[in-house]
Amino acid sequence: MARMNMVQALNSAMDVMLGRDPRVVILGEDVGFFGGVFRVTDGLQRKYGEHRVLDTPIAEGGIIAAAIGMGVNGLKPVAEIQFADYIYPGFDQVVSELARIRYRSAGDFHVPVTIRTPCGGGIRGGQTHSQSPEAIFAHVCGIKVVMPSNPYDAKGLLISAIEDEDPVVFFEPKRIYNGPFDGDPHKPAVPWSSHARGEVPDGHYSVPIGRAEVVREGADLTIITYGTMVHVAEAAVRTTGTDAEIIDVRTMSPLDTETLCNSVCKTGRCVVVHEATRFGGYGAELVATVQEHCFWNLEAPVKRVAGWDTPYPHAFEWEYFPGQARIAAALEEVMEDR
């Protein structure tokens, strides 16, 4: 067992898969010689050669289209889109092509492509380097959508994504690449080496896609969240002393409804937390699912904590970010009538 941060864990997942499966190739902007702007593919081109780890032109639509063509020809491409904010030029290739090729050809063709892309804010990235567009992709049938919250899951889920015969969009919350972040930017950074989930096996293992995880057991209420916000929610629970059950969704699509709803039916109260904007956000799907399955067990309205419905403002990052204070207020509100 080694200590890894999320960048190293993701690198290790691709290293393992490049070594095990000659069909795996990596492509993206700056991923080859340089090893990626976040260093996630560092050293892989040196180890596996420039035919397996390809630098590409700056053309997200071209990267995704090329990955689709490679997938049709029997490879298992892992495409990096440098920032999730840059993915939109390739959106048609994802929605109309990648997601539907198996369906429209009745299984004659399929495209086992993984798209990795860093998402989320808290890095002074402004409105073009901070977005969390997972809801936009979760709405598309035919792709799986994943977002890990720690190095162990990151590696295990990325291996599952690469091994999957269907396309996966794999969001990496970049604020927690180097350490869990509790939402307080003024505190010194905490490294992953201090966290249990910073322990990552060197070799091959997988974390199944489509399974949420209870990261903290509790009796009073359920917090459903994912990505960076898992750690912010944990901190808010610690600070407020609430006995909350915290669920890390990990896979937006397909959703592990059972784990979520078992918990909410048990606690009777629920807060949904994500960094993405609120209106039409993924939280709306979570709330609707909880309502459909747990209505008769609910003691209070389900509450959402999310990014404000504005673009991510550069100068007001911490006013925008749904931090501990907003989560704490929501916890208090759903517990109010108790």
Partner: protein, 447 residues
């Protein structure tokens, strides 16, 4: 007057009621364009993007360095493929007009573009067509019944009722699934070709795009990726002059030829007479050989004319002269190959009429068979529950639940329909018994 900026809004040379005018077309005489070695540097052969490669001359002879010197038997096969494609198109158009399929797209006048390219490539080469290259399916041996069943969305539909007509795919025949949104297949073809090179195989890919949709970013992605990696791919741009109602000037064709975009990316661009089977064959062969020996991609502009409407939902009489096709200076690809074969002494009008008759009968027989697997209005019908399959390899829980919800709904509806039918049958039976007892004939059942 102070000078001010003005937009240039392209206009076609002729609108309905006006004389067709193709004086804008730059033509080269047959045999006049030189054929460089396949290893020539892209920058040394840029003039191929300005001239027009033609092999068949006005006397129906094959002339010049691009003559592929095919056997007469191969030319007869080509003629058969092109004629079959046209007769299939004509039949499907009529069937759509009868309301028996919802939609159709003909390739009339463009048969050589698909058939010649298809024949010049190897069976292992992967094809990424747009929606007007049904000739590729014919060349690769796809049974017309399969294509018809797809258009019918019936129980033998290769797409299981999920795609509108003509969006075929042919895994076994190495023809990719047709999408319906434009241009996406072009950069995918490049990706496929890159994978072939990564795997060390000598198969190549070929993609097709219209001149209209070459305005999409996907064209630029394809050209850039193909040039950067020197991918073994043939990028075919079919300039059929019309993108629904907008003429080729709206895609940028007024300023430069489409083939000239190739040299701009460092890719050879070849402009070819798309209605000349031999020329398309020869140019495809050249590009394929170049790609197979690491010479990289080629952009081929097929200069042709969309003789039919864009689709069965279109009425070209609203935006172009009715007789424009008759004035098209590059003629009809089928007539030209037929005349060439006759000139060679390898064909005759009688044999042509005979072939026409034989293929018509074949199309009729295929349609008869296809209809027996169901139509839009008459069963057998596909099971609607299959709509939940193939979204993913393994059906996730949410889709399983939705499928069960729909199954229950269908069963309720079927149960209600069966009960109603039984009720009606009983009522009819009782009425009949009453009338028989009274000695009067029963009234015809209404509704």
């Amino acid at each position: 007057m102070t000078p001010r900026s003005r937009l240039h809004v392209p206009a076609p040379p002729a609108r309905p009621g006006q004389e067709p005018d193709f004086s804008y077309l730059q033509l080269s005489p047959a045999g006049a364009v030189y054929r460089p070695d396949v290893t020539a540097a892209a920058r040394d052969i840029e003039n191929l993007s300005l001239e027009l490669v033609r092999v068949l001359d006005d006397d129906h002879r094959a002339v010049g360095p691009w003559n592929p010197h095919l056997e007469a038997s191969e030319l007869q096969v080509a003629l058969r493929h092109m004629l079959l494609t046209r007769l299939f198109d004509d039949r499907m158009q009529r069937i759509q007009r009868q309301g028996r399929i919802s939609f159709y797209i003909k390739s009339t006048g463009e048969e050589a573009v698909a058939v010649a390219a298809g024949m010049a490539l190897q069976p292992g080469d992967m094809l990424f067509p747009s929606y007007r290259q049904q000739g590729l399916q014919v060349v690769r041996g796809r049974n017309l019944v399969d294509l018809m069943c797809q258009c019918l969305s019936n129980t033998h539909d290769m797409c299981k009722g999920r795609q509108m007509p003509i969006m075929y795919h042919f895994g076994e025949g190495n023809i990719f699934s047709i999408s319906g949104n434009l241009a996406t297949q072009f950069p995918q073809a490049v990706g496929w070709a890159m994978a072939a090179a990564i795997k060390g195989e000598d198969h190549i890919a070929a993609g097709w795009i219209g001149e209209g949709s070459s305005a999409e970013a996907d064209f630029h992605y394809a050209m850039t990726f193909a040039a950067v990696y020197q991918a073994p791919v043939i990028l075919n741009l079919v300039n059929n002059q019309w993108a629904i109602s907008t003429f080729q000037g709206f895609a940028g064709g007024e300023q430069r030829t489409f083939a000239q975009r190739g040299p701009g990316y460092g890719i050879p661009g070849i402009r070819v007479d798309g209605n000349d089977f031999l020329a398309v064959y020869a140019v495809t062969q050249w590009a394929a050989q170049r790609a197979r020996q690491s010479g990289g991609p080629t952009l081929i502009e097929h200069v042709t004319y969309r003789a039919a409407a864009h689709s069965t939902s279109d009425d070209p009489g609203r935006y172009r002269p009715k007789e424009e096709w008759r004035a098209w200076p590059l003629g009809d690809p089928i007539t030209r190959l037929k005349d060439h074969l006759i000139t060679l002494g390898e064909w005759s009008e009688e044999r042509h009429a005979q072939l026409h008759k034989e293929l018509e009968a074949h199309v009729t027989a295929c349609w008869k068979e296809a209809e027996s697997y169901g139509t839009l209005t008459h069963g057998p019908f596909l099971d609607p529950l299959t709509m939940f399959e193939d979204v993913f390899r393994d059906m996730p829980a949410n889709l399983q639940h939705e499928r069960e919800e729909m199954r229950a709904l269908l069963e309720t509806q079927r149960g209600a329909a069966a009960a109603e039918a039984a009720h009606e049958a009983r009522a009819t039976h009782e009425a009949q018994a009453t009338h028989e007892a009274q000695g009067t004939p029963p009234r015809a059942h209404e509704g």
